[in-house]
């Protein structure tokens, strides 16, 4: 059985050559992803989504682990302000984001490599746009030192 150990979560996701991790919450953001699927919208094949119950439950170590295992970028996608299923989860996600953003900057990663954004439920096109912009941002700036 796969446990929630950071090594196990990231190892399987990063075995292929594509290396963009998109962490979505189970509610608004993942609904956006599903809608994109049912509407047959496409996005970069380098994107590997990881669904979690709430973005606020992600700990900084897990995001660092993605970079350690070779991710080019990590995008956190959660519920828009005021719409979190657990009331405070997206505020917690913002705190985590601020902390990890400073850590990845210290480690020498570029700002474009780690982002946080919000997707409302059933907004497939927004999901594709946000993810697309993130991937473009990664590819746009050269010499990825990750």
């Amino acid at each position: 059985m796969t446990t929630l150990h950071p090594d196990n979560i990231m190892e399987g996701k990063l075995q292929s050559s594509s290396k963009v991790i998109v962490i979505t919450c189970n509610w608004n953001a993942y609904s956006g992803l599903e809608t994109a699927g049912t509407e047959r919208l496409t996005y970069s094949s380098s994107v590997h989504p990881i669904k979690v119950m709430c973005l606020g439950q992600i700990s900084p170590g897990i995001i660092l682990k993605a970079f350690e295992k070779g991710a080019n970028g990590v995008l956190m996608l959660g519920c828009p302000p005021g719409e979190c299923q657990f009331e405070f989860g997206n505020r917690r996600a913002e705190e985590i984001y601020k902390e990890v953003k400073e850590l990845v900057a210290l480690l020498g990663y570029r700002e474009e490599q780690f982002k946080l954004d919000w997707i409302a439920a059933r907004e497939g096109q927004t999901f594709v746009d946000v993810v697309g912009n993130f991937v473009d941002g990664l590819n746009g700036s050269a010499n990825n030192d990750a």
Partner: protein, 382 residues
């Protein structure tokens, strides 16, 4: 018995254990571990009988703080902490490891730094008033302070303030130290957790950078960095021939214009790595005395000091918390206003315990790093 196990037993004088039990009487884990009876003596007995699996399943195996408190009393001079350090390497080869706290955040940034091509951005704490020089023969080894500063900001931990204070003190003494942009984590936690591979990689990069810098002397503000660079790099990686000192060792040899005006009463936590590992007990006390602080010792002090309860970001839990609370109550009982430490990890662990909303006042005492205390004192009085 597995040949590796026999080798570690031989190397670390484990055969000489007299089964006297003095170790268990002082081991902080033995005192608080409730899942199972855990004591250094019992673990050694399992090892000598060749029960390697039992050794690795022992409650003490990953939770031992390697604080060396047992070694201070051992009549046979068994190197218990070092024995665990070595057998943990063996356990790693069986894919076993301890329970890392903070989702392995600290271990993971160590791993990221072990990539020689990783270019960090770690010198933002250097403000304009701090003088550093690329030609100095003294390197200030910052360690993970900028990272701890970010990761534990919520707990109001002194992180980069310690680094800034260290440079300020050195500047005050007319020294403009080098600080290295490519410095890596020293690898202390990796070594003592049995991850020799990452430790060696980090160590090799650090030694290379330090040699390139042309430095002759390394000053740290972290007791673990001091121990690792001074003892473990030469033993496991390469004899770099550089002089390594914790800042307090360096400062004790300097002359301060002692400010005789008596300041607040403080009590001092001997960090395990600075005290029992490196034998530095007098230097911090002498400096505090020179600066006019009244030192009120806790009941267990110097080589009998109680560890701050967690080591290597592993196995933190009820046992760690109990140890921290016990120590904070001891500090509080001295009546001192401030608990001074010389290790950022002591500060992090104690401040974390102080978050307890129920204990509140019982363990509420200001915690400061000795480096920032010295800097403030010097700047105040010139």
């Amino acid at each position: 018995m597995m040949p590796e196990m026999k080798e570690f037993i031989d190397q670390n004088r484990v055969w000489y254990c007299l089964d006297c039990g003095k170790c268990g009487a002082v081991c902080p884990i033995t005192r608080y571990e409730r899942r199972d009876f855990a004591s250094p003596r019992l673990l050694i007995e399992k090892a000598i009988h060749g029960h390697t699996d039992d050794v690795m399943d022992d409650a003490l195996f990953w939770s031992c703080l390697t604080c060396k408190r047992c070694s201070e009393l051992c009549p046979s001079d068994v190197y218990f902490s070092e024995f665990l350090r070595d057998t943990r390497t063996l356990a790693r080869s069986f894919d076993c490891s301890g329970d890392c706290t903070h989702s392995e955040m600290v271990q993971t940034w160590g791993k990221i730094m072990s990539d020689a091509d990783q270019k960090q951005n770690r010198l933002n704490w250097l403000t304009d008033d701090l003088q550093v020089s690329e030609d100095s023969d003294t390197v200030y080894f910052v360690g993970c302070l900028p990272y701890y500063d970010t990761a534990f900001k919520k707990m109001d931990v002194e992180g980069v303030e310690i680094a800034q204070a260290a440079v300020r003190i050195l500047n005050h003494l007319g020294i403009e130290p080098q600080v290295l942009a490519d410095e890596r984590c020293c690898g202390h936690d990796q070594l003592w957790e049995g991850d020799q591979e990452t430790f060696r990689t980090l160590g090799q990069i650090n030694i290379e950078n330090l040699k390139e810098s042309g430095a002759k002397k390394i000053i740290t503000t972290c007791p673990e960095c001091a121990r690792t660079l001074k003892i473990d790099y030469p033993q496991f990686i390469e004899n770099h021939g550089l002089e390594v000192l914790h800042l307090v060792e360096f400062l004790a040899a300097q002359e301060f214009n002692g400010d005789t005006h008596l300041k607040a009463a403080v009590t001092y936590q001997d960090a395990c790595n600075l005290g029992r590992h490196l034998g530095v007990y007098d230097a911090p006390r002498q400096i505090m005395d020179d600066l006019g602080f009244e030192l009120v010792e806790m009941s267990r002090t110097r080589n009998a000091a109680l560890c701050c309860g967690t080591s290597c970001w592993t196995a933190c839990g009820q046992v760690s918390k109990s140890i921290q609370v016990e120590r904070l109550k001891e500090a509080k009982a001295t009546g001192a206003e401030t608990l001074v430490t010389s290790c950022i990890k002591c500060q992090i662990h104690f401040k974390c315990a102080q978050n307890d909303p129920i204990l509140g006042d019982e363990i509420d005492i200001e915690i400061r790093d000795l480096t920032t205390l010295i800097a403030d004192s010097l700047m105040e009085h010139g």
